[in-house]
């Protein structure tokens, strides 16, 4: 398979806003480490799943990949082109047509004062696709395709008249209207009712087949990753700790953090479970721990882990960042 996206040492630090006093006393600028030194490859046609807890930087990484935010350092290659070199508005607009995003919150991701139809048609206006009559038709088509039937009725509705599941369908329609190649879906079902989740996932999978999409699905839910992923990466405090094919990772997770996650997910098929309970909570991303970032919580940590940060290295069929290997 050919590479669609490749990142090199991708890093994003968010400056922490300083108060007037801190500026006067020249306190050093602090940063939230959102994404650090990420190297990953996404091939055309795959579903790459990024798993992490809140604050791991997974959403930031997703936004970086479609250039919704700019990296602090490092680079992203999209179809071989370095996105840092995209400067003009036209170039950026071309990229927007190829790379889209579906957001987590179906309630906040639609403009409350714009009707469903006009919101979608605006996307076509913006990119000057089709002529005026065709645009409306195209919007009807995509509405029907995502299961909002009859499209004429949904065209004139406002977002607040729709259920959470229906809104997420609109968000999917909006992202796919430009016929992108790559779609980042940030927790696409986390805020949708349980009984609706499988519907939405099914729709996304069907559309992937029909439109030859490549997905990056961001989730905190390992069982979702297990269901949907081809390849996956696990992030902890801005860094990828383990990356490889879904099958190999689920068969034998190597990184202690992955192991802990896997033993922690509540599962309907397991009644009494033995789990690895990881003590403590995710440390502050402003001052991440020295050495391995997971070492204060890791049951297997030894001296080296406290001093030297492990690199993401190839171990057999995957990449792991852990001194144990």
């Amino acid at each position: 398979m050919n590479k669609l996206i490749e990142t090199r040492n991708l890093t994003k630090l968010f400056p922490v806003r300083r108060g007037i006093w801190e500026i006067i006393t020249r306190k050093p600028q602090k940063y939230v480490h959102a994404v650090e030194d990420v190297n990953l490859t996404i091939s055309s046609g795959e579903i790459f799943t990024l798993v992490g807890e809140s604050g791991s930087g997974k959403t930031t990484l997703g936004k970086l990949l479609i250039k919704l935010i700019e990296p602090t350092s490092g680079s992203i290659y999209f179809e071989g082109k370095n996105l840092n070199e995209l400067q003009s508005w036209d170039d950026l607009k071309q990229l927007r047509r190829k790379a889209q995003m579906i957001f987590q919150d179906p309630y906040g991701s639609l403009n409350p004062r714009s009707k469903i139809g006009s919101g979608l048609k605006y996307v076509l206006d913006l990119h000057n696709l089709y002529n005026e009559n065709e645009r409306r038709k195209k919007v009807y088509e995509i509405l029907e395709r995502v299961g909002l039937h009859p499209a004429e009725k949904f065209y004139d509705r406002y977002p607040h008249e729709l259920s959470g599941g229906q809104r997420q369908r609109v968000a999917i329609a909006r992202a796919l209207l430009l016929k992108p190649k790559f779609v980042v879906a940030d927790e696409p079902v986390a805020m949708v009712d349980v009984s609706i989740r499988a519907q939405i996932l099914e729709l996304m999978l069907e559309l992937k087949k029909e439109m030859d999409l490549t997905y990056m699905i961001i989730t905190h839910d390992l069982s979702l990753a297990h269901y949907i992923a081809d390849n996956m990466a696990i992030m902890y405090l801005a860094k990828i700790v383990e990356m490889g094919s879904k099958d190999s990772i689920f068969k034998k997770p190597l990184h202690p953090y992955t192991q802990a996650l896997m033993s922690s997910i509540p599962d309907i098929k397991v009644r009494k479970k033995e789990r690895i309970i990881i003590q403590g909570e995710v440390p502050n991303a402003i001052d991440p721990p020295k050495g391995c970032r997971f070492h204060p919580r890791c049951p297997f940590a030894f001296d080296k882990c406290k001093i030297i940060e492990p690199e993401l290295k190839k171990v057999n069929d995957r990449f792991v960042a852990c001194h144990l290997y």
């Binding site: 479609i66 919704l68 508005w89 950026l92 607009k93 927007r96 047509r97 889209q100 995003m101 957001f103 987590q104 919150d105 906040g108 991701s109 639609l110 403009n111 409350p112 004062r113 714009s114 605006y122 996307v123 913006l126 990119h127 968000a171 909006r174 430009l178």
Partner: protein, 302 residues
């Protein structure tokens, strides 16, 4: 019930809007037609009219009439709200006063809206040092009690219609700034703005197509409520004699002059302009509050 159905009234906010709106339409009609409705010249005194047979006293009570001969024909004057200390028809003054007060209040509100709202949009969207600076200035204006600030500015600028409008406008600029900035700040973080960026919307579209339409309803609500406030400030300024010539038909001036006769029994001089102020403030407030509930509905319980 039939009236309610006719006007599609479904809740108290609809009723508030309807009543407020009706009051305002009523006052508006008075204003627009003042030169036709107004029976007499609001500035003309009826103390010294040629051909009068008896000496006329000022401060005629409501429902008084006067008849006198002019060149052999009888003329009857009827003063529904009475006359003031200078023998002017109070009814005519009130009607002409309406147009004056409303012009000042609406123009002042418009000025402060047109300055405050764009500043809030800019400040909130751009953020950073610009935002900190503008916010500091606005907060310091806001910290002054409105009326005192208006008095200070009016005194500084001197008399004149435009100066009065400016004095009132300055007081309300921060209201628009604050509400718009606050909303922009929270809207800016909303996912649909981010989604618009991801779809390739330029900045201009983000501000004018996505943010502004979501702020407009609040601006409208604040503006309506502000007009009510501005009427009171206008009246207060005129009451204090700041701003406009004392013979101008104006509710504030009339109250100010009428208050001296309250104790001597001529209550009508100050009462009627006072009622008009109350009526118009109620009109704008009802409309504003009603619109607020309509645009920002909370959970409606019975």
């Amino acid at each position: 019930m039939r009236i309610a159905r006719f006007f599609r009234i479904r809740g108290h906010e609809d009723a508030m809007i309807l009543i407020g709106f009706s009051i305002l339409i009523f006052i508006l009609i008075l204003t627009l037609l003042s030169s036709f409705i107004s029976p007499y010249d609001p500035r003309k005194s009826y103390l010294n009219i040629e051909g009068q047979s008896v000496p006329i006293k000022p401060l005629l009570p409501p429902m008084s009439s006067l008849t006198f001969n002019l060149n052999g024909t009888a003329h009857t004057y009827f003063f529904i709200f009475g006359t003031d200390q200078q023998g002017r028809d109070i009814f005519s003054r009130i009607i002409s006063g309406a147009s004056f007060v409303l012009t000042v209040a609406i123009l002042a509100t418009l000025f402060s809206l047109l300055i405050g709202a764009p500043l809030g949009l800019l400040s909130g969207y751009i953020g950073g040092l610009i935002d900190r600076t503008i916010s500091l200035i606005m907060d310091s204006i806001y910290a002054f009690p409105g009326l005192i600030l208006a008095i200070a500015i009016a005194a500084l600028l001197g008399a004149g219609l435009l100066n009065m409008i400016i004095a009132i406008a300055v007081v309300y600029i921060p209201s628009y700034f604050r509400i718009v900035r606050g909303q922009v700040l929270s809207l800016k973080e909303q996912t649909f703005i981010e989604a618009a960026k991801a779809l390739g919307s330029p900045r201009r579209d983000i501000v004018f197509k996505f943010i502004l339409p979501n702020v407009l309803p609040s601006i409208l609500v604040v503006a309506t409520l502000n007009i009510a406030d501005a009427i009171i400030i206008e009246a207060s300024l005129s009451f204090l004699g700041l701003g406009i010539p004392p013979d101008t038909p104006d509710w504030g001036i009339d109250i100010s002059q009428g208050r001296r006769f309250f104790l001597s029994g001529a209550w009508w001089v100050g009462l009627f302009p006072g009622l008009m102020i109350i009526l118009s403030v109620i009109g704008f407030s009802l409309l504003g509050e009603g619109l607020d509930e309509k645009f920002n509905p909370r959970l409606r319980t019975r």
